[in-house]
């Protein structure tokens, strides 16, 4: 990996970087996030709208509690004229996921880092099968995701804090933390990108919706890793980054799901799953993630229809000569 040359096109922060703030928990009764009130089989409310950016073919904006992201779809546009470009009988899809520098506690640079590239190519995998690429020969479809705000990936659980001179060791190392944070972002990217592609009028076999599920065990069981009693398992759909009280994460599953075809276009499982009963443990987790994806599919369908509905109603109101300014797209805000 060659060292990257400094980025001279922008005003850069000090090269030595800054230290991200570490917040100490001051008291035991600190404010817990509101997520505990949500049942584990319910996903967070999703706000999804399409057609916000007029200069691109299709666009969407998605909000799931702290996560905010916008998706632009460009193309189909001609391939760049270079000798290295091969003849493409099918459209070439490119995907890009970029966190805004201010999207997380630790500032992100303008050059995409490895986790952003990773998200980008997993988004590619989720979408590429769903698009009818053979209809767009010799062209390029670009999907660009900008994450404006995300649930913090910051590592306050995996931090050893020294409070009043005594060291507070964490109960366990929450290694699945980054997976859950990135998983929720990826699922959001998949859902929003499908809406943007639909808004662009690009033909697809099916819409792809994203779903995340995590499985937890009691924190006390964590010392006997993997040996936790089967009864102690708790599945949470659309998990928050902070684990439920006292629970230790076991595994997280993120997938892109085409509900009309019952097919999974992208699958990513991270964590430890026992195979003593074959793939049963994995199946349960995948089923939970599929259920989460089905829930978000409902929102996706409504959001995809919303703008078309608006256009149709406007055309109808024009034809019937009613000058009333109807057609304000109604808010699509749904729970799973």
């Amino acid at each position: 990996m060659a060292a990257k040359a400094p980025d001279r096109r922008r005003n850069n922060p000090p090269s030595h970087g800054t230290t991200p703030p570490v917040f100490l928990s001051t008291s035991s009764d600190d404010i817990k996030p509101a997520q505990s009130s949500r049942p584990p089989d319910e996903i967070r409310k999703i706000f999804l709208r399409t057609g916000l950016i007029s200069s691109v073919t299709g666009s969407s904006f998605l909000e799931i509690a702290p996560l905010k992201l916008s998706v632009s779809v460009l193309g189909p546009r001609p391939l760049p004229r270079s000798a290295s470009t091969p003849f493409a009988a099918q459209a070439i899809l490119t995907t890009e996921v970029k966190f805004a520098p201010f999207a997380s506690t630790v500032r992100r640079g303008y050059i995409r880092d490895s986790s952003e590239r990773d998200l980008g190519s997993r988004l590619y995998q989720a979408l590429v099968g769903a698009i009818r690429r053979e209809l767009y020969p010799k062209s390029r479809i670009e999907v660009v995701v900008t994450v404006l705000d995300s649930e913090d990936e910051g590592d306050d659980v995996n931090t050893v804090c020294i409070e009043d001179g005594r060291t507070v060791e964490p109960q366990f190392w929450d290694v699945g933390r980054a997976d859950r944070a990135l998983g929720v972002v990826l699922a959001g990217c998949i859902t929003a990108a499908s809406a943007a592609l639909a808004d662009a009028g690009i033909e697809m076999f099916d819409l792809v919706s994203g779903g995340v599920a995590s499985v937890f065990v009691d924190g006390g069981d964590v010392k006997g890793k993997g040996k936790a009693g089967a009864g102690g398992k708790r599945y949470v759909r659309d998990p928050a980054v902070a684990p439920p009280d006292g629970d230790a994460p076991v595994a997280t599953c993120v997938l892109g799901y085409m509900a009309a075809r019952d097919e999974i276009s992208e699958l990513w499982i991270s964590g430890k799953l026992s195979t003593s009963e074959g793939t049963a443990e994995m199946d349960e987790l995948v089923d939970e993630a599929v259920a989460a994806a089905r829930s978000s599919r409902g929102v996706l369908n409504e959001a995809a229809k919303e703008r078309v509905q608006f256009i149709v109603e406007k055309a109808q109101s024009q034809s019937t000569e009613t000058p009333s300014a109807t057609g304000q797209g109604k808010d699509v805000e749904m729970t799973g």
Partner: protein, 200 residues
């Protein structure tokens, strides 16, 4: 109240309809590929084929606010499409053009195409010279004959209705066609050679 379908939504059994635009067939079902309104059209009476005469065509179209603007974003040149293009550079073998209108709709991005010397004219192909047919800046009506190689669409003007439709003289004045291979400047009356499209 019209119903709006989304991609993946089944519209009906495949044997009952002929799939049109914006739909595909999956598992014996016609399935929508677009967000939009469903339209079924009765088979045209001119169709004498009895097998397909009874089955209507089903298609999905995405309605747009302004008819020509949004739909053209996903527009791509296809074989047999009639295009308008601007000549960007010429050499003895071919004229390179930039396509900006496909089937009467303005496309979002310009596509590069070439008109090779053998595709300029239907007859007397050996005597065609690019320099007496096109000049950079001419607006040409042409037909796509092939998707071509990785960078160019191959176009043809081998038809009476195809060829230069707008051109400027060397002095920069607009010209009008006087016959199938000459155009005349409106100001100076100088005659220049072009492969001219039949105006009507």
């Amino acid at each position: 109240m019209t119903t709006i379908v989304v991609p993946g939504q089944p519209l009906g059994p495949a044997h009952a309809y002929v799939p049109g635009d914006g739909v595909h067939v999956f598992n014996g079902q016609i399935v929508s590929s677009l967000v939009g309104q469903v339209a079924t059209s009765k088979p045209t009476s001119t169709n004498t084929n009895t097998a397909t005469a009874a089955t209507p065509t089903i298609s999905v179209t995405k309605p747009t606010l302004s008819a020509d603007e949004e739909a053209s974003a996903t527009l791509l040149p296809d074989v047999h499409a009639e295009v308008l293009c601007r000549v960007t550079r010429i050499n003895a073998r071919q004229a390179t053009v930039a396509i900006f209108v496909v089937n009467g709709r303005v496309c979002g991005d310009e596509f590069q195409g070439v008109i090779r010397v053998q595709d300029v004219r239907m007859t007397e192909v050996d005597r065609v010279r690019i320099f007496t047919s096109f000049r950079p800046g001419d607006i040409v009506r042409a037909r796509v004959i092939s998707l071509g190689d990785q960078s160019n669409y191959y176009l043809s003007t081998a038809h009476n209705s195809l060829g230069v439709i707008m051109a400027s003289s060397e002095a920069g004045d607009p010209m009008y066609p006087i016959n199938w291979r000459e155009m005349k400047s409106t100001r100076t009356g100088v005659i220049e050679e072009r492969k001219v499209a039949k105006p009507f």
